[in-house]
């Protein structure tokens, strides 16, 4: 743990140094903004949403609230490492609550040029269950989030159209290239001009009605990186809402690539999963 602390301190130092040059860069960025193509906007949005830093960890929890107000909770730690920005990356999700998913581990080796490799470890059976790559737009552990909301949707699967540029946001329409394996006709993202974080995303059905909606409620700067701390997904058809909250996120901790292998299913790497206690 000592070496971890040290490396985090080092990373903070580097960030402080680079932080000094940031204002100049921001100024030149703003000038170029209007000239950004829609592909560049989507690429930046993808990058800040799913590829912040080279790696990261965070506590996370979800509150699932149905239309009658009944609540369910999921609590987990999420660990990520990028192989390449906007390219392949790895996720490890370790659940602690509720008790029927306690000890369950979800491992994703995400690939851009082929199907992701995904495993679920079920501790009661000592079973390394492989999950087929197809079912990405299904519920993530019983919530309104889809697997794809957690690990990111490949931008190349959609065509993009810049509908509008407001003072604060780019409004981008995204149409799936292959409609057969998604439930939406298209979705419209409201992407913040400064951070490039999508602040709302609305999913439309064939009739042009919004049936699903993602809202970001809170963004914080973590090590200089704008980070979504609270978001929610509303299913407008069922009246169900899932709130997601992150806590104690940290970037660039130097987690090695071999953490994202089958060893972590049976023996989750506490060195990387546990947050520094304040």
């Amino acid at each position: 743990m000592k070496s971890l602390q040290k490396s985090i301190k080092q990373k903070f130092l580097t960030l402080l140094v680079t932080g000094l040059t940031l204002p100049m860069m921001t100024a030149s960025l703003q000038a170029a903004e209007s000239e950004l193509s829609v592909e560049e906007i989507i690429s930046k949005a993808n990058k800040v949403s799913y590829y912040a830093g080279d790696d990261g960890r965070s506590d996370a929890r979800m509150m699932i609230v149905d239309k009658d107000g009944n609540r369910q909770l999921r609590q987990f730690v999420i660990l990520r490492k990028d192989i390449q920005d906007e390219g392949d990356q790895n996720f490890l999700v370790v659940f602690s609550r509720p008790s029927d998913v306690r000890g369950t581990v979800f491992l994703v080796n995400k690939h851009v040029d082929r199907d992701d490799d995904r495993w679920l470890y079920l501790p009661g059976l000592d079973l390394e269950k492989r999950i087929s790559a197809g079912d990405k737009r299904t519920s993530f552990v019983g919530s309104d989030f889809f697997y794809e909301d957690v690990s990111g949707r490949n931008p190349a699967l959609d065509t993009h159209e810049l509908l509008e540029v407001t003072d604060t946001a780019y409004i981008v329409k995204n149409i799936p290239q292959d409609k057969s394996n998604v439930e939406f006709a298209y979705y419209i993202a409201n992407i913040n001009k400064e951070t490039f974080l999508p602040m709302t995303v609305e999913y439309f059905n064939e009739k042009g009605e919004v049936y699903r909606r993602m809202d970001v409620a809170e963004v914080e700067e973590v090590q200089g990186i704008p980070t979504v701390m609270k978001s929610k997904i509303s299913n407008l058809e069922t009246g169900s809402v899932t709130y997601m909250e992150f806590r104690r996120p940290v970037y660039n901790i130097g987690v090695p690539e071999d953490v994202f292998t089958s060893r972590s299913l049976r023996n989750p790497p506490r060195e990387w999963l546990e947050a520094e206690q304040e």
């Binding site: 008790s99 492989r130 087929s132 790559a133 197809g134 079912d135 299904t138 394996n181 709130y243």
Partner: protein
């Protein structure tokens, strides 16, 4: 956390763990004023499991099931009637972890109180690349879905047939597991010093076919096998070498031990477990957004290499091929083809006292698993079906799970056996066909 769960937690903690000097601040509460912006959604504190070295959970479950027909060997139609408590606790130490999983239940079918420790183990890592787990534990490997070629770890068929949760199909054993991770290949070794047999169908809950009688026997535990002597030479060793290459998982397996069920007969005509060695291999990967698996195993009957001894089950080749994919939104379909190819079949038939009851040389089995989840997994509909064209018998496992809340879970299901003949693998259990319901409160 609801008040109810908290009370439950404290009752259990107080009762079971007070002796271990657990700190009273275990469930330290932490306010989070920022959450108010979001209404009262996050009024609950984060569950600070990691702030304590101890963590724990459990459930209480009631289950009831009964035969859908009568079995003349049983007066009672009940196949499941129990109130079960399950507790799990983990201690994460600086160097060594401790884990416990245990069940205690009143079994109304046998009218007995039962205790089953499913895990009581110490885990630690050494040499940077090796994980040790020592003690009572559950082990699983192989690629089959409810079909086992290279997984010779103990299984509990009584639980499986009577409608307990699928988890209970795996039974624990007292083992030492050592897993080493290398660049070239990972090495997984499970050593079970004292042979641990399956919890097979023994007549106590369900009757079974007996060739000597030429019919079903049961009503009480009617199988009293001769077990292997408890010495180190009779310990079980299971080895797996495995590697993931670009998402394709390759594995080689070896096993040295015994048949897990008493399918052999001693010279004094008692059922027994004969020596068995197994060599096998498997491949699992993704193709066309689905998953395929192929597995093969050679089961070597060490004590009957000619296949002529009628008291020893012959050597077999076993082969499995499977494919699973999401065929529609939240609808998953899995298919498997499984083959048991008995070696020296002519010898077997020539020497068998009951050739009419022997399975065919090539026993084919097809399985299918259909799973449909409603949005947010509130309901999970599932049907697993085994069908053997050579035995002309089948086993259907329909079930419906309803997740009412994080605390309350409901399950209904059935185990439906069908066969044209009384002696076949599934056909012998026709009178065991049952339906069940389970209600679980977890905390």
């Amino acid at each position: 956390m609801t008040n109810k769960t908290r009370i439950f937690k404290w009752l259990f903690m107080g009762g079971l763990l007070a002796a271990h000097g657990l700190p009273a601040s275990f469930a330290a509460e932490e306010g989070d004023s920022q959450d108010e912006k979001w209404g009262d959604v996050w009024e609950e504190e984060w569950d600070e499991e990691e702030s304590s070295n101890w963590s724990w959970a459990g459930f209480v479950e009631a289950g009831y099931g009964q035969r859908l027909q009568t079995d003349p060997l049983f007066e009672n139609k009940e196949t499941l009637n129990e109130l079960r408590g399950h507790l799990e606790t983990d201690y994460k130490g600086e160097d060594v972890d401790f884990s416990f999983r245990g069940d205690t239940w009143y079994d109304g079918v046998t009218d007995e109180m039962e205790l089953d420790i499913r895990e009581l183990a110490w885990s630690f890592s050494a040499f940077g690349n090796t994980d040790f787990k020592i003690g009572r534990q559950i082990s699983t490997w192989g690629t089959g879905d409810l079909v086992f070629l290279n997984d010779l770890f103990p299984k509990d068929w009584q639980s499986f047939f009577s409608g307990r949760e699928d988890t209970y199909l795996k039974a624990p054993a007292n083992s030492v597991r050592v897993t080493s991770y290398f660049d070239a290949v990972n090495v997984d070794l499970v050593w079970t010093p004292v042979f641990e047999e399956d919890r097979y169908i023994n007549g106590e809950r369900f009757s079974l076919f007996n060739p000597i009688v030429g019919g079903s026997i049961g009503g009480t535990d009617v199988v009293n096998p001769v077990e292997p002597d408890e010495n180190l030479g009779n310990s079980e060793i299971a080895l797996r070498l495995y590697k993931n290459v670009e998402g394709t998982e390759y594995a080689l397996y070896g096993y040295r031990g015994f048949d897990k069920q008493p399918v052999g007969i001693t010279n004094t005509l008692q059922p027994t477990f004969h020596r068995k060695d197994i060599f096998g291999a498997s491949v699992r990967g993704s193709i066309e957004s689905g998953l395929y698996n192929v597995e093969v195993a050679y089961h070597d009957a060490v004590e009957d290499s000619e296949g002529s001894d009628p008291f020893v089950k012959n050597s077999q080749w076993r082969f499995l091929a499977g494919y699973e994919a999401e065929v529609a939104t939240r609808l998953t379909l899995g298919l498997q083809y499984y083959l048991e190819w008995t070696k020296d079949y002519d010898e077997l038939i020539a020497n068998s006292p009951f050739p009419q009851y022997e399975a065919e040389e090539k026993r084919h089995l097809l399985t299918t698993r259909v799973t449909y989840r409603t949005a947010k997994d509130k309901f999970v509909w599932s049907l697993f079906a085994f069908y053997s064209p050579t035995d002309d018998d089948s086993y259907l496992r329909p079930s419906l799970n309803y997740r009412f809340s994080d605390e309350w879970l409901f399950t209904i299901g059935a185990n439906l056996f069908n066969g044209q003949e009384e002696h076949t693998f599934f056909g012998q259990f026709e009178d065991a066909s049952n339906a069940y319901v389970r209600v679980r409160y977890q905390f």
